[in-house]
Symmetry: C2
Subunit: 446 residues, 2 copies
């Protein structure tokens, strides 16, 4: 876990092959295209429309949420083009009629998108995205935008709790094997936005420039005739600064062997099982006795924010987090929705619209938001207003797409820094891990 | 939700573009390659090795698990090739040395894989995959194989509980928006294996031939000046057999309008909010009064297996399931691991190996498995044995890859049928939703 190479920050917009499938157009629910077909047929598809992406509430017990996936969403909008093969598929399978197929063949989003930038904190009813265009061009983006936001924000929201609990100690993302192989790449990226130091996922480094690290698994020790043979091989290949995994057989013996093999300059040892706090104390004492005072102790084994907090007083130098990170630490999705909030009438006048469904009512009108801060700079309220209302705080909504052109590119490090700043504004009670209400209230039109 | 087109089953091995990124090689943890580098340097990389993919236990409370992702894993093995650009990346970022980079450039898996076929049921310690080859060629597959199995089996295991609870009524997968956009495609596929009738996800249809359906969302109603306008438009575009969404404003009024517009041949109505059982009874009575006796009622709104079971006595004709399906209904990952269980020594003799870590001990040796059945054909035990032991039941392990060539291709419908057959073998208590122990015990070497 030691060879964390710091990769130069990718330039804004310079992610490599951000959309592995080339086109995002079919990462879409069937009903988006049937609605489209009917709206193109009756003429309402051309009505100017405003969609809003937001959550009615935070996942239960969470004090705040973290916006993530913004740059991936911009990638997805740019790649939302229907290839000839995709159009032929939709036509030949009679998913859409010819008129709709022709329309899709020349689709590109030409509207505007504003929203919260990546890494920002969000609360109930925060308008994370405001998408404006014709109904036809805006409705078809619903599924893929929600997929990206619901996943990435869930991971970042969990990651933020973990890195806050870890304080100055680094958190290392290593959950790729416990989630879908492409979700793993996005999870590594989202975790980095929320303060993780590095990931195990190589594609996240290639695609997004997230630093990676890793040394060895138990299989490497078992492959060799003795643990010593394995350690000798690893140190010869990776240097004495490497991290040796010491719990394949007997930990105390492995630590002794490791320092013998690598010398007191051994980089780190990793403990992946057992009572981590107790073991960390024992291993620390043993390492100090052996003169390896600078050898770090990395712990891994189903860690989450509570386990990290519980190890605060143990002599641990870094946390490897897997399963609980990639599954959102009990909240694997955010419940964000994408709702039509305004559309033109026949005269071209914009009309706020809202559904009245039980427990799922929405609030009409195009919105914006700001965060109200007290004199000390601490957040006191999330204020969602109808667009055009005066702001009495830090404005939260920025331009992301203008007339179809992406204008909201930024580097991953800029998002990461924004998250650190925005989190520092929260009342300190937000750091508590116990379930509770959102740490600040949301004022919104109703 | 009505226009479920039945797509002809794809021929075995004929998925379209199954690996969106072309190569799966970097969907890999950094440490696989550092281990590889050290093992190539010291010669142990050539040791014949056996890895086993299994779970030490089922997710807590689950009575059985469902194997899924097998065909995707075969796709991933075939696509596990390092492109020139990927090799250059690994070399230039000094993630691996030149010897390792050269080795990766010519990598292709040349070993054997056996395992449980897709749709099969599994239990604790079931050897889902047995991967044999050199250590070097087998270790690098770990991350992507685990990603696929841990995700797809989690979804299929949840889906199986839902379809069993639903009985003859169809379950419709519509969770794409609540999970990562590529995980959504895999989730739709896994749900179909476990008995779902269809999905909303268009890419799952294009890539894997999963049937899709969908009609309209609340935004379509809100787009129009009146609900009647929306219904007229939808019926004109999609026919009277369509499904009208009736809870945007007032349900009883929407049902009346819908039958007026479409006639008593209206295909279905969808209810997406409120007390679904109560509403289903009211709407059924209203539809019958209006002469629309064959109009079906589809319910959607955070359904899971418990909600489905709770609606068993309500006049419901189909269940749309979203969030709870794609998040594994509380168990978003399976905890499957990939462990070295045997490897050659210097003399070429295979040696069973196992780690002794607290709570994570593994069992050495190459294994196989069968399911013991009683005289009535009901399963009584999962029997894991060292390979070569006699079987007294239904053999569970089949060849999947032979000397690097995939030999285990089958159609998605074959997997789906296998799941139905295997589930029917379980003691009926397995259908109960309450948490419990695995429904049959696993006998395994220790």
């Amino acid at each position: 876990m030691d060879t964390v190479a710091i990769v130069p920050a990718m330039l804004p917009g310079m992610s490599r092959d951000p959309v592995p499938s080339g086109s995002t157009a079919l990462l879409t629910d069937h009903y988006e295209l049937t609605m489209l077909q009917a709206a193109l047929a009756d003429g309402t598809g051309d009505r100017a429309s405003v969609f809003e992406l937001f959550g009615r509430r935070l996942p239960s017990g969470r004090r705040y949420g973290v916006v993530a996936g913004v740059q991936r969403a911009l990638d997805a909008i740019e790649a939302f083009r229907f290839t000839d093969e995709q159009v032929d598929f939709l036509r030949s399978e009679q998913i859409v009629d010819d008129r709709t197929a022709d329309w899709l063949a020349s689709y590109r989003f030409g509207g505007d998108v504003r929203g919260y930038p990546e890494g920002e904190i969000y609360f109930e009813h925060s308008p994370l995205l405001v998408v404006e265009g014709t109904f036809a061009e805006a409705v078809v983006l619903e599924t893929v935008l929600l997929s990206i936001y619901n996943h990435d924000a869930a991971i970042a929201s969990a990651a933020s709790r973990m890195t806050w609990a870890a304080g100055e100690r680094p958190c290392i993302e290593m959950g790729s094997r416990r989630t879908h192989e492409e979700a793993a790449v996005a999870a590594a990226r989202a975790a980095y936005v929320a303060g993780f130091a590095s990931t195990s996922n190589l594609e996240a480094r290639r695609r997004y420039g997230v630093p990676t690290g890793g040394t060895s698994a138990h299989s490497f020790t078992l492959l060799h005739d003795t643990e010593r043979d394995a350690f000798v091989s690893q140190v010869e290949s990776l240097g004495a600064g490497t991290t040796l995994l010491v719990d394949t057989y007997d930990i105390a013996e492995a630590v002794r062997t490791g320092v013998e093999v690598a010398g007191p300059g051994l980089g780190a040892v990793r403990i992946d099982s057992g009572d981590l706090a107790d073991l960390a104390h024992r291993v620390r004492a043993q390492l100090d006795d052996l003169g390896a005072k600078d050898t770090r102790i990395i712990v891994t084994s189903d860690l989450d924010e509570w386990a990290i907090a519980g190890l605060a007083s143990a002599p641990v130098d870094g946390y490897g987090v897997g399963t609980r990170l990639v599954t959102g630490s009990g909240k694997p999705t955010c419940g964000l929705v994408y709702k039509l909030v305004a559309r033109a009438d026949d005269a071209g006048t914009m009309v706020p619209v809202a559904k009245k469904s039980a427990d799922k009512a929405s609030v009409g009108g195009r919105k914006t938001a700001h965060r109200r801060l007290d004199a000390s700079g601490s957040a006191t309220a999330e204020v969602v207003t109808l667009d055009g209302s005066p702001s009495d705080g830090r404005d939260l909504v920025v331009p992301l797409v203008s007339a179809g052109e992406v204008v909201g590119r930024e580097s991953l490090d800029a998002s990461r820094e924004r998250h650190a700043r925005a989190r520092a504004e929260l009342p300190i009670i937000a750091r508590q891990l116990q379930p509770g209400d959102p740490v600040i209230p949301t004022e919104h039109p109703s």
